[in-house]
Symmetry: C2
Subunit: 250 residues, 2 copies
């Protein structure tokens, strides 16, 4: 529908994927607004993966590979945008997959789980009856799977809300966030925040994890130990401010 | 539903108004994403009307009062967020009201026209059979009313697309835009760009126009003549970059 020559082709194509996910019942109306917020931050970031973001993704891959029980929290927007890459990452890093929604709805959960299964996921948690409650938050996302997020030592939360990100960290889990707003509560609560678009991050993380399975534990620990989230967030903020104030897009 | 004590109360309340407009058939799914983009830029702006934005609104009020045939272009998001203020501004400045949509649909046009009429609008253009085509653009928004936007000397375009903004200016009309992204094509194509949220701008413009009807023509021309859009846009960009890079929200 959109000609590839359109100056905003990539952005419009992604927007159509979201609209398709909305029609399929995977994406909530509020998810469309959330996507728009992400678009604006991505525009400021220059719509590319910065060196800063790549460094955070490298640390995240190390953290996932070092974890005993990592889980990826999947919502409707993530499934609509990159279901296949999410399944590939889960395989590469040995992660569990759990559907977890802010605007909760069992039908939406099932639609999303189906999208992941069609891309090859063997098991998708979050649609069964093993529901548990994450303590320390009133977020609708506190409803988790007892075998999944509740038991996890590391949780990858692409597209998260700040309240639950804080609760996950308070519960002693290592939190890896993907968030285009480096000043958000999620970005600040997480141990590793990748300030980048999930569409670019998920395939990159899958690729890094595939390559880094060859690293020994000491090398993975060195990568993780060299990462500082506060420095990384400050760098991302500066990049965005510079792009915007400097009239990069003007 | 949302407690007024919530730290993001105002933002969530506005989001609910949009979702309500979507359910009522006035707002397109793409309009929800566009709102999200606006939210992110507003967040960077500090979610307040800057002095810079107030100065642009002052010039815009002068321009509307000096015009022989000003028209306000109304889309679904504007109607969902501030139908009453839009009608008040039209009365205060003697503006026509015309429904004009990017994702065009005659049912949506009628729903939006009905929302304006319920707030007291005597006449709403854009749902009748006097359609004309604005030259110089392929934008779906080129379909205008022959008695409205096509005949107007000044067009107020809150929430516009860049392609049509350029075509309106090329057609010799004075273009007043409301746009939260100071680097957008719309912001740069317009003669006066108010970098602010429509929710705050529309009541302010109505108030300014009511007060400034007492000005003589020379005073209005002085206000308008003192305004420089490029300077104003650069100031807005700097404010946003400073807020973001300086960790104002961190």
């Amino acid at each position: 529908m959109i000609p590839p020559t359109h100056p905003r082709y990539e952005s419009l194509r992604i927007r159509e994927m979201l609209a398709g996910g909305f029609e399929a019942g995977a994406v909530a109306a509020e998810g469309l607004m959330a996507h728009g917020r992400g678009e604006a931050f991505d525009y400021m970031l220059g719509e590319e993966s910065t060196i800063t973001a790549q460094r955070a993704a490298h640390a995240a891959a190390a953290a996932l590979l070092l974890s005993a029980k990592p889980v990826i929290s999947v919502n409707g927007n993530l499934a609509a945008l990159c279901a296949a890459d999410t399944v590939q990452l889960a395989e590469a890093a040995g992660c569990g997959l759990e559907v977890n929604l802010f605007y909760d709805d069992i039908r939406r959960r099932r639609v999303i789980a189906g999208m992941l299964r069609r891309k090859g996921a063997a098991e998708v948690l979050g649609t069964e009856e093993d529901r548990a409650t994450l303590p320390g938050t009133d977020s609708p996302r506190r409803l988790v799977s007892a075998r999944g997020i509740l038991a996890a030592d590391t949780v990858l939360v692409p597209l998260e809300d700040g309240d639950r990100a804080e609760a996950l960290a308070a519960a002693g889990k290592r939190v890896i966030a993907i968030d285009l707003n480096p000043a958000s509560r999620t970005a600040r609560a997480a141990h590793i925040t990748i300030v980048d678009n999930v569409v670019r991050v998920m395939p990159r993380l899958a690729q890094y994890c595939s390559q880094m399975t060859q690293y020994d534990e000491g090398s993975l620990r060195a990568v993780l130990g060299a990462f500082r989230n506060d420095t990384n967030l400050a760098e991302s903020s500066r990049t965005m401010a510079r792009n915007f104030g400097g009239g990069r897009h003007a």
